[in-house]
């Protein structure tokens, strides 16, 4: 076999004794003497191949032949030698290697058919598909190398991200009037509290005044009734304030005191916490 390789001018170096290399813990001693093996350990060597196409490209490169005019017989022979070594060494041999072996042998045999007739019929060179795949794969290999050379974030450079100093203002939710309306609607639909909680615009102003008067009374002790009303703000406000006072009396929120008829009326909270 080494004769065949040499005839074709292939780099068919007799392997330098690689006695120190180990395969699966065993010294590598029984290499086929006719196979070119680089001076690396065999296992490591095979592991560097990403598959049959990769191995073929390696062989083509080593042989220094034209990829567009591959000497099929020689390439097939060499390829099979490598596969055989892999198999004998019990290296994990992917099924793809065997599929490729079959394909190479098929191409080789088709090459043996009389060429002229085949060409007349416009038949493609049997090697065309293989060559296309080899070229495509070689492109990918080179592209992968070039991608790897591009500066990569985290490996070749870092992104800048300085600390963002947050001021201590707490972010608070925004609420708009419509949110309250919809919250109320959902309450209604859930609880059917319609009758009791119907609220009109007028009533709202009463309730607003109730809160205001409660605020005014809190901590104030007795307040004279008349001071709860500000005639300057108009009759409408006056009436609403009065309604608020009545409602608060009804809800027992405030108490009235009058010493004698026509004496000043005083108002105080029905319950003041400070007491």
């Amino acid at each position: 076999m080494s004769q065949a390789l040499q005839q074709h001018g292939v780099q068919a170096t007799i392997p330098t004794p690689v006695a120190t290399a180990k395969i699966h813990g065993q010294l590598l001693t029984e290499l086929p003497s006719d196979l070119y093996i680089p001076p690396d350990a065999l296992e490591v060597f095979f592991e560097t191949f990403e598959g049959p196409l990769d191995l073929l490209l390696y062989l083509i490169r080593k042989a220094n032949v034209d990829i567009l005019d591959i000497p099929m017989a020689r390439l097939t022979e060499q390829y099979l030698e490598y596969v055989e070594v892999m198999r004998r060494k019990n290296l994990e041999l992917a099924a793809e290697y065997l599929v490729m072996a079959a394909m190479l042998m098929e191409i080789k045999s088709r090459m043996l058919l009389p060429r002229p007739r085949a060409l007349e019929q416009g038949e493609e060179d049997p090697r065309a598909e293989l060559v296309r795949r080899l070229i495509e794969y070689e492109k990918v290999k080179q592209a992968a190398r070039k991608l790897d050379e591009l500066p990569q974030v985290g490996r070749d450079y870092f992104c800048v991200e300085v600390w963002i100093e947050q001021t201590l203002t707490e972010r608070v939710p925004n609420v708009c009037a419509a949110d309250l309306e919809s919250a109320w609607r959902s309450l209604l639909t859930r609880a059917r509290v319609t009758q009791h909680h119907r609220i009109t615009r007028e009533e709202l102003s009463v309730r607003e005044h109730m809160s205001a008067i409660l605020r005014r009374l809190s901590g104030a002790g007795f307040v004279e009734f008349t001071t709860l009303f500000d005639p300057g703000r108009g009759v409408a406000v006056l009436i609403v304030s009065f309604l608020a006072v009545l409602e608060m009396a009804r809800e027992s929120l405030i108490e009235f005191t009058q010493a004698m008829p026509y004496a000043p009326i005083y108002v105080k909270l029905a319950y003041a916490q400070s007491e």
Partner: protein
């Protein structure tokens, strides 16, 4: 051998590329030559001065030096990554609505209307926001506090008075009449980020 300016550039680069503070010891580790801690400190001080007019400042913290944005630039930065504004839960909104429309009310009143207990956390949320406060106590056993909305509540919602709240009369009437109300009114659109109320019949989404 790096000159002081080159050392400063390396320091600046390292500090810009690290969010966590870097100690003098860590910074020293970068250089082949042994640069004294004092020299580094002087260069860091210079660097801090170099950045004085910028939106980012170099600060010396307990665990080391760090570049950080100046608080005055936060308003710009916030607009780039607008965090989704936080939202109040439905419980908080309903409680607020009840207080707004029914004030002055006690927690018991709110619970009666909502049909569930009102957690102290809800009241606290609204009090801390400054939107409700206690305006009195009802003269019944337990003396429950009476809550009302505040001026801040009106201001924050852009209202001049409670009367500007949407009137609810119409809604109640719609519901009362039971006259096949349009979905629009009965089930207001849920807002993003808030669990929607799904009426049973339109219910479960197919995954």
């Amino acid at each position: 051998m790096l000159n002081p300016n080159e050392v400063k550039t390396v320091l600046e680069t390292a500090l810009l590329a690290n969010q966590s503070p870097l100690s003098i010891a860590e910074l020293r580790r970068m250089f082949d030559e042994d640069i004294g801690a004092d020299t580094l400190r002087r260069l860091l001080d210079e660097l801090r001065d170099d950045w004085r007019e910028r939106g980012v400042e170099l600060v010396n913290l307990a665990t080391g030096w760090r570049f950080q944005t100046r608080p005055s630039f936060q308003k710009y930065l916030e607009r780039i990554n607008p965090e989704r504004p936080p939202r109040y839960s439905r419980a908080v909104l309903e409680t607020l609505a009840i207080i707004a429309y029914r004030q002055p009310v006690s927690r018991g009143d709110i619970e009666d209307i909502r049909g569930v207990t009102v957690s102290p956390g809800i009241m606290r949320t609204l009090e801390q926001r400054g939107w409700i406060d206690v305006v009195g106590h009802r003269d019944v056993p337990g003396r429950p506090a009476l809550y009302a909305t505040t001026k801040d509540f009106l201001n924050d919602l852009g209202l001049r008075s409670l009367q500007e709240l949407p009137p609810l009369e119409d809604i109640a009437r719609t519901l009362d009449l039971n006259a096949a109300p349009s979905n629009e009114e009965v089930f207001p659109e849920a807002r993003a980020g808030e669990p929607a109320e799904r009426p049973a019949e339109t219910a479960p989404e197919k995954a």
